[in-house]
Symmetry: C2
Subunit: 266 residues, 2 copies
């Protein structure tokens, strides 16, 4: 399948350290060679969004090298390395996917394999490629647009609907996903997803996938709060929390603020 990486912060932060280890799994320390992508939300209000995509392995992609070295400051990030299950290896099947809803960009990445998932879609959001993942994203946004009409809901109401959508997806197979609109980062664990909240007192962290350490004391201030979410822990000397399968979490400004159970929503 694939692997996911997400970040939610209360202050613009670069993801170079985490992405460095994560991108090693795209053909180096792991088998996810079928493309990679990363979406950054930028600016105080998180309205700016840019997505970097490459259907080549992250371990050998010149673009991935730029992302590892270019410290883009962001408060919400969604990244993905792909091991194709459904859909060819090509640019239009490379996560994360991006669409606009309510005058904001939404970015989505999925780890899993949805069998016989062919939902009815209104046509407002249609897949460009042929992955189950992009179909899931279109279904999700279509559901939100139909449910809430022209007005963006509060995140509590959003999460109620998201739990319903996640339950539908889970019925078709593994549906771990990350979704962000630049204000909130929503993580759904169906089989595998971990997170860590880093805040003062900060420590040194050491990557699992390469021998690189960072002392967060040197690059943070006392009020910084950063959550990193990943399919499996990225560091080997910190305590990551496993998200229970069937759990949907919403992170805002680096901390979890809302939780739903996707297995109780149907």
């Amino acid at each position: 399948m694939c692997q996911l990486l997400g970040m939610s912060c209360n202050v613009p932060t670069d993801i170079c350290f985490s992405f460095s280890g994560f991108s090693r799994r795209g053909g180096g320390t792991d088998v996810h060679r079928d493309g990679w992508g990363i979406g950054f939300f930028e600016g105080d209000d998180g309205r700016g969004c840019r997505v970097f995509l490459d259907p080549s392995p992250s371990i050998e992609s010149p673009l991935a090298a730029v992302v590892r070295d270019y410290p883009i400051q962001s408060m919400n990030v969604v990244a993905h390395i792909r091991k194709a299950t459904q859909g060819d290896i090509c640019l239009q099947n490379t996560h994360p996917f991006q669409r606009e809803l309510w005058g904001r960009y939404w970015v989505f990445a999925h780890n899993g394999n949805l069998i016989d998932f062919d939902p009815a879609l209104s046509g407002r959001y249609l897949p460009v490629g042929n992955t189950d993942s992009e179909r899931a994203f279109c279904f999700l946004l279509d559901t939100l647009a139909l449910r809430f009409g022209a007005t963006a809901p509060s995140y509590e109401h959003l999460m109620d609907t998201m739990a319903e959508v996640a339950a539908v997806l889970r019925a078709h197979g593994p549906a771990n996903f990350l979704l962000s609109n630049g204000r909130w980062l929503i993580a759904h664990c169906s089989t595998d997803l971990h997170y860590i909240v880093r805040r003062a007192p900060f420590n040194e962290a050491h990557l699992k996938d390469e021998d690189v350490s960072i002392d967060f004391n040197e690059v943070t201030s006392e009020t910084d709060c950063v959550t990193v979410i990943a399919t499996t822990p990225l560091t080997d000397n910190e305590a990551w929390t496993r998200i229970d399968p069937g759990t949907l979490m919403l992170f805002r400004a680096g901390v979890p603020v809302e939780v739903r159970q996707s297995d109780q929503a149907t």
Copy 2:
């Protein structure tokens, strides 16, 4: 205002040569320092799309250096360097803009300044930033979606509607723009836009903005056909064609195939 660069080809081609000269105008040979962006359509069917955006000047952007050096093969490209008129200098105001319609990505860049342009929008496509340009793009796609419903039109019918839209935009001020969906590249000249069709017999071309030449005989085959469109000519030893103001052209596989007059459409 801004400058536009587009490319339409019958075979996947990199735009490194043209982009190298073009990006010099983003703070080097010209004043367009307020960000830049480029959208590439990839794959045989042009469904794959990736857009690189940076609100910093192209002359000093590490990302622009990658795009100059990384030969991305594409049959349709839309690029832009910005000199802000309306809207702050920030990522969400950086062209080109991207949305999805009829299961394809559409990418749009604008050079101009639309005064008092505040069209009614259905809500299906809403601006994320605060430029006249993104409003124009949302108005354009909204008009197409409302006019043609669930079914993508032929390019002839598309062009009829595009001419109407272009006429509406022109009534508010300069509205030079490039639009592509990966199959077609549509160029509208309201004040300034030039193009050149390169095909056999190929010659050497020399950039206007830096002392760089390329011999297209060495990098092409006999059947290649490549159109490059730019606000002002990028080379100083070739004959570029000025597009008459009020003209809308559709390029497919490197050649113009359809023309409309935007000043006769209303």
